[in-house]
Symmetry: C2
Subunit: 609 residues, 2 copies
């Protein structure tokens, strides 16, 4: 037996016991004839004491960092206790030991604050994974996995595995494809999600399905995307939206309790997509703080119909506002005493290419009741007060105003709000605020193709009272300029996103379950009957044999874990992530393959350069 | 709300309740003005009563098989109870109903004994999945999954997800490969198992890992293989073989208890690979019954050194035995009165190409103490008795003897034993018998390449006391004829298979964890240093930084479920299986892909025909 105890479990009450530990050498400290070694494993750190008196002087066999050691000795209470670790009351007086394996000097320190850069840590991921910080992330990930599974099991969901080698039906993101040796010239695709399979399972009567499952998207990777990612994927039959919302806010609350020991007892707030866009400027608002957007002037919301006329600001001769499509304001609390340098810096911030605004107007709501702004020559103090009031500003606040084209301005104001929230410490890692965003538009207008695209996916049902609107209208957009007047612009989806602290963590919908409506949807998206039959014939076929009403949701497991871990980055919550080029730098994958493999697969390269 | 109860939960005690059910129409039976409908869901079947008196005559809206129905009514105790189903004491008097969806007439009956053939059932898998028999299989699968996870969790194992897009290192089976769009000319591979990753996790200190994970092998499919399959994959650090055997027989016993309510309290039997081959003719013996093989004569066992000289049978002038390399016998209990027709049929059975023997010799051990055989003219009755005794035959038994080349004869005798066991009812679906097979040869001799191949995989450690034999001997085989005399022939692996009822359900090994030994292993398998570095450099590198002793096991989840379900076929325990050509006939996958996909991936077809 390699060990009797782990490095995290011995206490003062174990004093006198003869024990065997095994683990990694964290530190070695010599004090004359005595040597202290901190031995580490997954469970903790225990101090070992070596010395001549114990016949275990280390001179002949020096220990280095990360050596693997098996040590036998007696548990003793320490005189110099370490209250910072659970085993800090004891040490082991070592009577014999074996070096199980040596270690070269690691390329970076195995500590919370490592000196290793990202690239080095990725190349030596097996060492990076030894660090406490990463281990805690993976432990949290496992705890979330376990908690979700337990909740779903208790609610009669069944884990049913769906296939990984499926059919390529490119729609939205690109598929990864897999050449079939047994069917030369043909390819499997890796699933972007088990969407159609879980719907088939509902048709098959498995009315509560779940899976914690890998999915694949061949997209150009942003900093925080991975080509393979994990979903908690769920589907229920005989449900309406309300049933799904209740079931899954229950799941997330259970995860909060199990993983973070947080009692999230309040009802999860709900907000329509239109309100989210209008009040927060995006569809996944962070509602941990207010700083809501005041719509001083607005053209419209894409797929919605909300306007603001601009009566408060128009006609003062300030061309930037007069000519702007949209003017939006937020009130940064307690910032009225910002210096010129600070407001200039904020102006530079909104002028960065990622934000893309021309400038920033501010109004200082001084604590003495006066108002001072960067547009004093256009607006009287009364007018400034009225604008500040509209923005919900109080004495001591700083009103920040952006103006320009609707879409860019709204996005920029949303970003500015989040940035100010961050700077003012209003976005706390340990505060969690859930939100359901509802009533998304069913379709988005694709200017390039002058056609409708599905905002969620083509299996999402319209709101029940809008099914007729969809069936009874021709999807063709006669006048591209006036697409907003097409009845399809106002059809709302029976869809819902769950938002946590400004991140979409889950999304789903009530599905279409009638063949006729599904065909209409494919047609609305510009798919020919042949194409629909080729890609999704199996689903249309299944809908002919008694498909029940159903709906579901999928959670982005990697992101959920990152947020619960208080991090913005998913990469440190994945054991073996890929870099931004989709490469595993530890494995050096992808890589070339043998000619024999090409021959067997009957494919060859066709490199453009 | 679509339903207040499922179709499996109402009882006599619910009489008088107003309920709403939803499900599928199983049967419709008219009796005058009254119609009985059996409504089915995943949970059971409930009888509904429609009629004019209830204002729910069905004349206007006839119900067909598999229609999806929502029905509201009152629970009533039945006069004519059905004791065969849990809801058989009640029926629902329906006051209103809605047809949620219609169904075309299914192409086969949704019943335990369906009239649908395999191909039809695969094409309409979503209907096949509605059948009780398949649903019970998937429920069993989920129960096994859940039970294994619970056991492993309680034993401090952590579920850690390993990547699916990895590096191609063909070794043994073929990899499925995935062209990388972002890295043109390069390919990912889908994992044949997470082997190297779980070993890296041990190096990283996650000393107990598990995963229920999809794996992929591009092999020509036999009837009972799938290109994608699921493993319960586990690894432990700081363990010896004994620790692993104890931990995982515990897991399987837990599954027996949770899933089959079987208390498997006895210690799991253990047998060396040599004994298994010698006594049962194969390395995964079904020990539910005896009928052990008598080695009347034997050349040797590949990788072992057991011989039998043939003194009982040689020299009687019977050329078939005299000239045979190997002569093996089994005693079929109670079969001494087999007719000529029956022994002829058995002879034909062993002559089938799959078995490939020239003939069959039998000895009838008559209940009157006489012996009668098909080789009476060569052997005296005393001699026959001696042979029958050697085969362990008792009065009333039939001794069956096969002779020929060692490998074929042993395999044929093993098959004949299993066939006789089946015919005699000795292999009961509801009896479960576990066995550990140990001490496999580390290497197998590959005649074609005159080289060693790893019997398990190249990461398997030799037995501790044979590591020196491996390190101190040159792997080169000077004399192919005498490969058995090479020291490598006798090196035993520190490996173990778990066998259940004659099926290998799990296999694993203690791994190599020293770089030097791993390099020696790669070299022994004929890999150049460059090749080893290219394929497994990351693992060799990891072994330099404090790799702990470790080992693990992987269970074939699909097969384990099939055996627990009393079936030989894994396909009905997989929700969406592929056929023998690796096709999903429901999806019609694999399929062609678009030119745009070829262009983006920078590959093209290179079809040979």
């Amino acid at each position: 037996m390699f060990r009797t105890h782990t490095c995290g479990e011995l206490r003062a009450s174990d004093a006198g016991k003869n024990v065997t530990l095994a683990g990694w050498v964290q530190t070695v400290r010599k004090f004359g004839a005595i040597t202290f070694v901190d031995l580490r494993d997954r469970y903790g750190i225990t101090q070992l004491l070596f010395g001549e008196e114990l016949n275990t002087a280390l001179d002949a066999q020096p220990l280095g960092r990360e050596f693997v050691l098996q040590a036998i000795g007696t548990v003793a209470e320490r005189s110099n206790k370490n209250p910072n670790i659970p085993t800090g009351d004891i040490e082991i007086h070592i009577s014999s030991f074996t070096i199980l394996n040596k270690s070269a000097v690691p390329p970076f320190t195995i500590q919370d604050d490592t000196d290793g850069g990202d690239d080095l840590r990725m190349k030596y991921r097996f060492l990076d994974l030894r660090r406490n910080a990463i281990r805690k992330n993976l432990e949290l990930r496992y705890a979330v996995n376990r908690s979700a599974r337990n909740y779903l099991h208790e609610n009669h969901f069944m884990d049913i595995e769906t296939p990984f080698l499926i059919k390529s039906t490119p729609e939205g993101a690109r598929d990864f494809v897999v050449p079939s040796r047994m069917n030369p010239g043909q390819f499997y695709a890796l699933p972007q999600s088990p969407q159609t399979f879980k719907q088939l399972l509902m048709v098959s009567g498995y009315d509560r399905y779940y899976q914690v499952v890998k999915c694949f998207r061949d997209e150009d990777l942003r900093a925080d995307r991975q080509p393979e990612f994990t979903q908690i994927d769920c589907e229920m039959a005989f449900v309406e939206q309300e049933d799904i919302l209740n079931m899954f806010e229950g799941m997330v609350k259970r995860i909060f309790k199990d993983v973070k020991n947080i009692d999230y007892s309040e009802k999860v707030e709900r907000m329509s997509w239109e309100d989210a866009m209008w009040i927060y400027g995006n569809d996944k608002p962070d509602i941990r703080f207010g700083m809501q957007i005041a719509n001083l002037k607005s053209a419209f919301l894409k797929g919605g119909k909300i306007h603001a006329t601009g009566e408060l600001i128009n006609g003062a001769g300030f061309g930037v506002f007069d000519n702007a499509e949209t003017v939006l304001a937020i009130a940064a609390p307690g910032c009225s005493e910002y210096t010129r340098k600070q407001t200039d810096e904020l102006t530079e911030w909104v002028k960065r290419p990622q934000i893309g605004m021309q400038g920033l107007v501010y109004i200082k709501c001084n604590t003495d009741g006066t108002y001072k702004s960067s547009v004093d020559k256009f607006y009287s103090e009364d007018k400034l007060k009225a604008i500040a009031d509209a923005a919900g500003a109080k004495a001591g606040d700083l009103v920040l105003i952006l103006a320009g084209r609707e879409e860019r301005t709204r996005k920029a104001t949303s970003e500015l709000r989040l940035e100010m929230g961050r700077r003012l410490g209003l976005r706390k890692d340990d505060e969690f605020k859930l939100l359901w965003v509802l009533d998304f538009p069913l379709f988005e207008y694709d200017e390039e193709g002058n056609r409708w695209v599905a905002r969620h996916h083509p299996f999402t049902s319209p709101k029940p009272d809008q099914i007729d609107t969809m069936i009874n209208n021709n999807p063709v957009i006669e006048n591209a300029e006036k697409y907003l007047e097409h009845p399809y612009s106002n059809i709302k989806a029976n869809a819902y996103d769950m938002v946590l602290n400004g991140n979409e963590i889950g999304g789903g919908s009530i599905r279409i379950y009638q063949r006729e409506l599904q065909e209409k949807m494919f047609a609305a998206l510009g798919m020919s009957e042949e194409e629909a039959q080729h890609k999704f014939g199996f689903l249309l076929g299944a809908f002919e044999y008694g498909a029940p009403p159903h709906g579901g949701i999928a959670y982005g497991f990697d992101r959920l874990c990152a947020i619960l871990g208080g991090s913005e980055s998913i990469r440190d919550f994945i054991a073996f992530p890929k870099n931004n080029s989709g490469r595993d730098v530890m494995l050096d994958a992808p890589s070339t393959i043998d000619q024999q493999q090409f021959d067997e697969l009957q494919i060859k390269l066709d490199l453009k350069n």
